[in-house]
Structures are given as C-alpha cells and as structure tokens.
Symmetry: C2
Subunit: 150 residues, 2 copies
DNA sequence: TAGATTTGTATGTATGTACATTAAATTCAA
DNA sequence: TTGAATTTAATGTACATACATACAAATCTA
C-alpha cells in the first residue's frame, strides 16, 4: 500500500485538499475491505455491525428506527431495511411502539449480544493489524478527522 | 458535526483503533455527501469522476479496463460497467484493442475533457469549504492515511 | 500444434446507497 | 373538532459494490 500516489498511480492532484479527498476514499475502501472479510463469515455488513453496537449502547432500552438512522455512519442508508435484515437473522427484536403507533421499537436480542461479544476481540485484533499506526498517531488521526468535519 | 462521539451519539469504542475505523467510515460518508451533491447536476458519481481523471492522466494514450480497475479507489467496484456508463454519456471512447482482442482500449473524449475542466474549480472550492483543516493539517492527515495503510 | 492454463472483460446476483414517494398516525391550527 | 401539516416508517427505483462465474482470446506446455 503505502503512499497514495504509488498505490493508485495518480499524482496530479489539484491541491492537498483534493488529495485528502482521494486519500479518504481510498483508505475507506482499504478499511471496509478488512471489515467485510472479518464480518462476512458472520453474515454481517459493516453497517449492520454498527447498528447492533448502537442498539447495545441503549442498555436494554428500545430505540426507534429514526433514532438509529441519526446515529448511523452513513446517513443516507436505510435503517428500516437494515433492521429488517437483522430481524430476519434473529439479532434484533422489533415491535410496534405502544405510545405512538407510527414508531417501531427496536432492541438487540440475546443472540445479537452474544454475536457482538464473540466479535469484539476479533475486531480489536484485526483493527490493530491493518491500521499501521501507533496509538498516539491514531489519536492524532481521530483528532484531525473530527476537526475536518468542523 | 465536530466530535465523533456527539455526532453519532456513541462513546463506547473498544479502543482508539476502533474509534478510528468508525471515524473513517463516518468522515467518508461526510465527504461523499458533498461530492455527490456537487457531481449530481453533471450526472456523475464520485468514482466516475475519478475514472475520468485517471483517463485524462494518460495524456491521450488508451488504457485497458483492468488498468483502470487497478487505479480505482474502490478495488471491488466494476470498471467494466463504469466505463459502459461513461461511454453512454459520450465521456469516453471505447474500442477493441487491435493487438489483443481480449482487451478494450479506453480513452477520455473531448467532451469528457471539457467536463473535467468545467468541474475543476468547483471541486477545488468545494473541497476547501467542507474540509475544515489548514493546509498543514491536511498534509498531516494525508501523511497519517498513507502510513495507516502501511 | 492440440489441449490445458491464464488473462481480460463481461455478466449475474445479492446487498447497499441515494433519493423520491407513499401511507399511516399524530399534531397543529382555524 | 375537522382538515391541513408534520412526523415516522416502509417502499420503489436507479445505481454502486462485492463477489462469483462465464466466455472468448491469448499463452503456455507437452
């Protein structure tokens, strides 16, 4: 991998900002590749995994579909259909909200929790393997990404 | 936007590496959102725009589909179908390679070049607008992303 | 040089993304 | 309190991604 210019044989960037955009897209693909590889045996996509983590973060309280959507990494993806997929696999429980019949209460199931637990160390090991940065560099990266979005 | 934890209301990351993965996915979505908005009026996706830039980088020499694939930001996407889309819009020229009939020579068309030119300043302005980093911070980010991939 | 292997591209399928639209329930306002 | 506006979720569609497979052309090998 290494330097972007060599990796994609492109060097005529408009400016460092344009290069950063390309670098982010390329690094995203790199990261998602590893995520997919790790999650595929468990029949989960990265965003499905993330939704399970969002639900676990609620500590047993049900969450609505729109609340999940707000917290998702990809704002444009479709929480409704993702929840449907997770339900089909028995990883979440979905039921009509008693106080507002438009809403749908979603909770992670016991199976969902068990799956997350099983994945935790694998994810941790995998992340450290393919992110070839020291802990302080990673913190620096996180700081820059946060600042990038303003 | 700002800090990741607030933006997606999630704070229980396994470690800074896991947070970096989430941060990259989220920032990717942020960036692609702006890219899509800018390119949509021109009926281009970010990867189609990138392919046009790859082709322009060849300075008039034809490129094969597999060579495009190698240089694409998303290694798993489908250069064949992207080229087909670009050809349908008249932005590239595609013809059978005379020396190897398996291969397909692809070149950017005059229209494609004109479109890239028209987009250049818009892209440049847009990037600087939504990437809220100084030039030295952007360079630092590029360095970290390059290093991340090893 | 015939048959096997490899290479380059296209196609098929399932899923995900982007965005518009629909439909039902709720809230607001006259 | 009734009709309009808003909210919540689901659905439809076009395109993109991920990955397997097919198929023709070229290359290798015996």
């Amino acid at each position: 991998m290494g330097k972007l210019e060599e990796a994609i044989q492109q060097k005529d960037f408009i400016d460092p900002y344009h290069k950063a955009v390309v670098n982010l897209l390329f690094t995203h693909s790199y990261v998602v590749g590893y995520q997919n590889a790790l999650l595929k045996p468990y029949d989960l996509s990265p965003e499905q995994y993330n939704v399970l983590r969002i639900l676990r973060g609620q500590n047993g309280n049900p969450t609505t579909v729109s609340s999940i959507q707000e917290r998702m990494l990809n704002k444009m993806s479709n929480a409704s259909r993702l929840v449907e997929k997770l339900k089909a696999k028995g990883l979440v429980i979905r039921e009509e909200c008693p106080t507002d019949r438009r809403q749908v209460d979603v909770m992670i199931s016991a199976e969902g929790l068990k799956l997350l637990e099983k994945l935790e160390t694998r994810i941790q090991d995998s992340n450290k393997y393919y992110i070839k940065l020291s802990e302080s560099e990673v913190r620096n990266l996180n700081m820059l990404l946060d600042k990038l979005r303003g």
